[in-house]
């Protein structure tokens, strides 16, 4: 007997019991998932980041400069002390500052320039014309420094229609993804666990 399949099936049914109403079985499964997920991420973070990037460089390779990020990381734990918690802002400001500095050129390159480049299409097909009109009209819609009146108002209104198509198609795509997951779980329960289907 495969105990793993039985455990997975019982936990799956416990989560689906929420469709009836909130109950202790669902709450238990929900809390197990939270605990296991946190344990998973901590174990993976320690083994893939802290051990190879901090402990091995310091203790095996003798790179003592890595003690500095180690100490800064430990300073984060001062959050738990009422008196010393302001010092935990120092490592936080390093993460925020570096993140902000890195994101400006990254966003400029990966989003703005790349997206604009992809929109500069030859006007030789209906699809290309629609793409150009849609990008421009959606950008006009998000331009709030001018009131949406006159030509800007018309552009913004066209933008709303394209946004509606985007929201509708994204919704449809998400629904289908969720339903395929549901089919997968039902196949698991009826096939792998109970053996009713192949």
């Amino acid at each position: 007997m495969n105990y793993g399949i039985t455990v997975a099936a019982i936990l799956t049914l416990a989560i689906y019991s929420f469709l009836y109403k909130d109950n202790p079985f669902y709450k238990a499964a929900e809390h197990i998932l939270l605990g296991v997920s946190v344990g998973y991420f901590v174990a993976v973070t320690v083994s893939t980041t802290l051990i190879p990037k901090l402990f091995i460089p310091i203790f095996s390779e003798g790179k003592l400069s890595y003690i500095i990020p180690g100490i800064l990381g430990m300073v984060m734990f001062l959050r738990f002390s009422k008196k010393l918690s302001p010092y935990s802002r120092i490592p936080l400001s390093i993460i925020i500052g570096v993140g902000a500095g890195v994101s400006i050129p990254a966003m400029m390159q990966a989003q703005i320039i790349a997206q604009m480049k992809a929109t500069m299409l030859p006007i030789n097909s209906l699809s290309n014309i629609i793409i150009i009109v849609a990008v421009l009209s959606v950008l006009i819609y998000f331009y709030f420094s001018q009131p949406h009146k006159g030509a800007i108002g018309v552009g913004a209104k066209i933008g709303i229609y394209f946004l509606m198509i985007f929201f509708g198609s994204t919704f449809g795509y998400t629904v289908m993804a969720r339903i395929s997951l549901l089919i997968g779980r039902l196949q698991f329960l009826l096939g792998d666990w109970l053996g009713f289907i192949d």
Binding site: L92, S93, Q111, Q115, V135, L136, G168
Partner: protein, 207 residues
């Protein structure tokens, strides 16, 4: 001092990381990569702080008098402990306890949680998908065509439905998404500049 020093560090590092992009010198690139390495380490510690806060919160409940909530907090603490001990001391490869727990507890439960949302999405669609005006009709038609285009029934009804679904996803929907992405990028750049210049300082907490 408690607020000025973090703001100064944020400004100095943010400016350096921004300017470095335009200075492809060997020394500056080496420093840039070293800082990125260091930030990864500090970031890993911040995840540990988050986990510690969760453990602290549930340890208080587990040792408290609320008999209704106590068993659930104990379950969370057990889940964290078992997964941590298994992952850190007994390996993470195939055939290990960690791998077994991931395959038979975490992965199926995550998939089930996401699949559960299909019921709520369907109920939300029933309540929200009313063709009240022309904009709502566009949303409704796009959603129906994309949903039908992804299943065999769509192909049976008409061979044009899957093609129409692909066209909607690749042309108007993709173009609107492109506009949104450009907007997000401009917003991110504006917020990053505010953070570097110390105008946006909510991450420091307090008033």
């Amino acid at each position: 001092m408690h607020r000025k020093l973090p703001l100064l560090i944020c400004f100095a590092l943010g400016t350096f990381m921004l300017v470095q992009f335009f200075v492809p010198h060997k020394a500056s690139t080496a420093l840039y990569e070293a800082i990125l390495d260091w930030v990864q380490i500090i970031y890993a510690f911040s995840l540990l702080v988050g986990a510690m806060m969760l453990i602290k919160h549930h340890a208080v409940i587990a040792s408290g008098r609320d008999a209704k909530e106590r068993p659930f907090s104990i379950l969370i603490l057990m889940g964290i402990t078992v997964m941590l001990v298994a992952g850190l001391f007994f390996g993470r490869g195939e055939g290990t306890v960690f791998h077994w727990l991931f395959q038979n507890v975490q992965a199926p439960m995550q998939a089930t949680m996401f699949s559960l949302l299909s019921f709520f999405v369907a109920s939300a669609a029933y309540r929200g998908f009313r063709a009240r005006n022309s904009q709502a009709i566009f949303l409704l038609v796009a959603a129906i065509i994309v949903m039908l285009g992804r299943i065999p029934v769509g192909e049976i009804i008409s061979s044009y439905i899957p093609k129409a679904a692909d066209w909607i996803l690749n042309v108007p929907s993709m173009a609107a998404r492109r506009g949104i992405y450009i907007g997000i990028a401009l917003g991110t750049i504006a917020t990053s500049l505010r953070v570097i210049l110390g105008i946006e300082r909510t991450y420091l907490g307090g008033k």
